[in-house]
């Protein structure tokens, strides 16, 4: 059997505007795929095509082997989808709404009720099940949206900005929820928040200007940063001058950056690991070190570079 999700040269044009311009990738089970890109890059449009809401202008996608255009019903059955902004029916209660989703998903009667209760518990909705959705806070509304998406225990979960607009505690809860579901599933989530990618995803795809610009792991992405393997030294203030000179001799003065009165950052051109040699030298020359850290790279900076470059193409 092939990959759970196969996207082939997917394209979407709106009049003269090309929103998605030939995106192809495959996703295997057990993957949490972070879908990154600036606003308007085509993330949501790609997700809308994958979930069968928008017909592609060219190319196609298959979910579990089912083509989203010719076999859309079978494809839709495998997918749980949280659209951007988590739209819901404001007049309904979460209970009525989730029962409706359960019935559309083929459950009925006691089985539907049991499943709704189970999912409500999973996303902690029990207390508000009988309040109209419009009276709920943003965090609860998002949870209703998530509950709706996971109700039929789908093999593919597509979440468009699942934590957007939530407070830090709510974000944490949503992430924990996503992490608890990742086995044996494909989870695709779009986000602006790079720490989320580091915390959740096993793979990252960046699209810019409708095109795929990067497809790798978060660690590989970080390795593209010029800060990757940089070493940060925290020193006693009186030592800063002496150590800075010594490091500038070894690595070139342009590679030693003074971040604060007692903090130095050392980078190398080839981003090799220099921690061992620096720590050896520190011992030998008896620097008064208060801290020594390796930087893994800054995703926001890589993201910025890549998407700016992508938009220019």
């Amino acid at each position: 059997m092939g990959a759970m999700i196969e996207i082939e040269n997917l394209q979407k044009r709106f009049g003269a505007i090309t929103a998605v311009d030939g995106v192809s990738f495959q996703v295997e089970r057990g993957t949490v795929l972070g879908f990154l890109g600036p606003n308007g890059a085509g993330k949501s449009t790609t997700m809308k095509m994958l979930t069968g809401f928008l017909p592609p202008s060219g190319g196609t996608a298959r979910i579990g082997g089912h083509d989203i255009q010719t076999d859309s019903l079978a494809a839709k059955k495998l997918v749980g989808y949280l659209p951007e902004g988590a739209p819901l029916y404001p007049d309904m209660t979460p209970e009525a709404f989730l029962m409706f989703i359960a019935e559309v998903r083929g459950l009925s009667g006691a089985a539907a009720r049991a499943r709704v209760t189970e999912v409500a518990e999973k996303v902690s909705l029990q207390k508000v099940m009988r309040q109209p959705i419009e009276t709920l806070s943003k965090g609860f509304k998002r949870r209703v949206g998530l509950a709706q998406a996971i109700l039929h225990d789908p093999q593919v979960l597509v979440l468009d900005e699942p934590t957007d607009g939530l407070d830090p505690n709510q974000k944490k809860e949503v992430r924990a929820l996503i992490r608890s579901m990742q086995q044996d599933k494909v989870i695709i989530l779009s986000t602006h928040i790079l720490e989320e990618v580091e915390a959740l995803c096993s793979r990252v795809i960046i699209i810019a200007g409708g095109r795929l610009v990067v497809d790798c792991t978060p660690a590989e992405l970080a390795a593209k940063s010029k800060w990757h393997n940089a070493v940060r030294l925290e020193l006693h203030a009186s030592e800063t001058g002496r150590v800075a000179t010594a490091l500038a001799d070894a690595y070139g003065s342009s590679h030693v950056e003074k971040l604060g009165p007692a903090t130095l950052l050392v980078t190398t051109k080839d981003r090799r690991a220099i921690l061992p040699e620096i720590s050896q030298r520190a011992q030998k020359e008896q620097w008064k070190l208060e801290g020594l850290h390796v930087e893994h790279g800054r995703l926001d900076e890589v993201f910025h570079d890549l998407t700016r470059a992508g938009a220019r193409n």
Partner: protein, 246 residues
Amino acid sequence: MRNTLVLFKRELAGYFSTPVAYVFICIFLLLCGILTFYLGNFYDAGQATLGSAFFEFHPILYIVLIPAISMRLWAEERKQGTIELLMTLPVTLPQLVLSKFLAAWAFSGIALALTFPLWITVNYLGDPDNGVILASYLASWLMAGGYLAMGACISAVTKNQVIAFVLAVITCMLFLIPGLPQVSEVLAGVLPSEALVEAVRSFSFMTHFGAIARGVIDLRDLVFFASVIGVFLFMNAIVIELKKAD
């Protein structure tokens, strides 16, 4: 079939989860009463029938009230973004279009059925032809279906309920006025042949509603309403397919 039923149930329950349904039903019954007793002079006519005093006003009443039901059908889904939710569920477009229409039609049927005290009244006061009354109810309900199908299609065109309402009122009117006697006379003066006048008249809801309401259930009149509903629901599906993402 099962999906259509599930969607239908949610739609119909949706009317009653807000005050919309109750307000609508109250206004409908109130207007029916006022028109029947004041404008229709129900008592003065001294006849045990519902035709002239009650059903006669339905074509006009529906022009305003039916678009009030249909305006939100798709406009609301598009505005709230719930259309994306709905259309990524494992249901087909025909199921969605049909369930929304049927729920609205059932709702208008409930409102219509709640005018039963009038029917009891005429039976208490006299000895009406209940067959004709039943046929009139059928005619009224079919006409409501025709207007609803138009309204649903128009509601799919816009996200704005007010626009949906106004456009639907105008469209409903266009399908009514060629059948009004005054308009027919004008048409007879303008159009070159009698056949053409008849052709235009035959597009009017008034003509077909009147025929069934008289108690003559002719297949042609039934086919007319069924075709109007079918054509507009088909167009509804096409409009949704084209406009859903806007």
